[in-house]
């Protein structure tokens, strides 16, 4: 999902930065509030953020014959919402653009928007839709994670298609071409990522159900039902 440094025209770099910055500021404000309200949310932030660090460092091979990164943003999105997730992603993406030449400072805004904002926002919308239904919580985590991952790559395709519309067919045909590279490669990775993070969530539920209930991530009944299933 990294747009490489230099591959996005200056006006688009600025446009995506303008979208990313207020989201990051909101995220930092929320982060301060959440940590001040409940110190025990710090370890949860460590685990959910840790998975973003781990998964986004892996380049996994896919059926299309190319490699791509999972994003790992699902758990953080469910636990803390998309804005705090954007802050964690910004840290990872800054590291990658400074030391790994994956992405760069001018395209950082665009990369934060795809990995840290649109992906998590879509995931969060799915979570809010399913939270109060009878949907199994692990299935919810799976769907949120897989969709946050997929929509990160859809957004990257969108960003590139907007900057580089095809000569014939314009934006739409260009979008389809970029989707062919990014989204198709990503599909199997998103599914595996969803299953793995659902398993991780099972361990969080087993070890620390009280923090999930206190932060109102899932209702007490749902958490207890999930614990009964596992014992």
């Amino acid at each position: 999902m990294h747009i490489m440094e230099g591959f996005l025209p200056l006006q688009w770099c600025i446009a995506w930065w303008i979208i990313a910055l207020p989201c990051l500021m909101l995220g930092m404000y929320q982060l301060k509030k959440v940590l001040a309200a409940d110190r025990e949310s710090l370890p949860l932030l460590g685990v959910t953020g840790g998975f973003i660090f781990i998964l986004s460092s892996l380049k996994l091979p896919s059926v299309t014959g190319s490699c791509s990164h999972p994003t790992g943003t699902g758990l953080s999105t469910i636990s803390f919402g998309p804005w705090i997730t954007a802050v964690v992603c910004a840290i990872v993406l800054l590291f990658q653009s400074l030391f790994l030449a994956h992405g760069g400072l001018s395209v950082l805004g665009a990369n934060i928007v795809s990995m840290g904002i649109i992906g998590p926002v879509v995931g969060y919308a799915v979570y809010r839709l399913l939270r109060d239904t009878s949907m199994n919580i692990y299935l919810t985590v799976f769907l949120v994670t897989a969709l946050a991952d997929m929509f990160t790559y859809v957004t990257t395709s969108l960003e590139l298609a907007l900057a580089y519309p095809a000569e014939t067919g314009g934006f739409v045909s260009s979008f389809i071409l970029f989707m062919g590279i990014f989204a198709v490669t990503q599909l199997p990775l998103a599914i595996v990522e969803g299953i793995v993070l659902a398993l991780v969530f099972k361990y969080i539920v087993a070890l620390k159900p009280d923090i999930l209930i206190r932060l109102k991530i899932f209702s007490e009944e749902k958490i207890n039902a999930a614990r009964d299933d596992a014992s």
Partner: protein, 100 residues
């Protein structure tokens, strides 16, 4: 008694299927280089804009890892930071659960 490890089993199956598909495609697909999709994206940009790849120079000067070895070292460092966070917190939770 209910089966306790449904999710673990599903995860294992998913990872095995994923690996088998990879082994299959990497041995049968000719010309599959397993390069990054990021680079494939850059290639398509060059094609769509009709400019050579060399045309796209960083807008902000950028340090690049001098070799693939160093790049993989730094990626491992990033994963290690995440691993320490995850392992540390799970350990902390397990420890405090035992105490209580």
């Amino acid at each position: 008694m209910k089966f306790k490890y449904t999710l673990e089993t599903l995860t294992l199956i998913a990872i095995i299927v994923f690996s088998v598909i990879f082994l299959y495609t990497s041995s049968t697909m000719s010309g599959a280089e397993f390069a990054g999709s990021d680079n494939a994206g850059s290639g398509l940009i060059a094609e769509l804009s009709g400019r050579p790849l060399e045309y796209f120079q960083p807008l902000i000067p950028q340090w690049e890892p001098p070799s693939g070895e160093i790049e993989s070292c730094l990626f491992a460092l990033q994963a290690a930071v995440g691993g320490v966070l995850v392992g540390g917190v799970f350990g902390f939770w397990m420890g405090s659960q035992k105490k209580a």
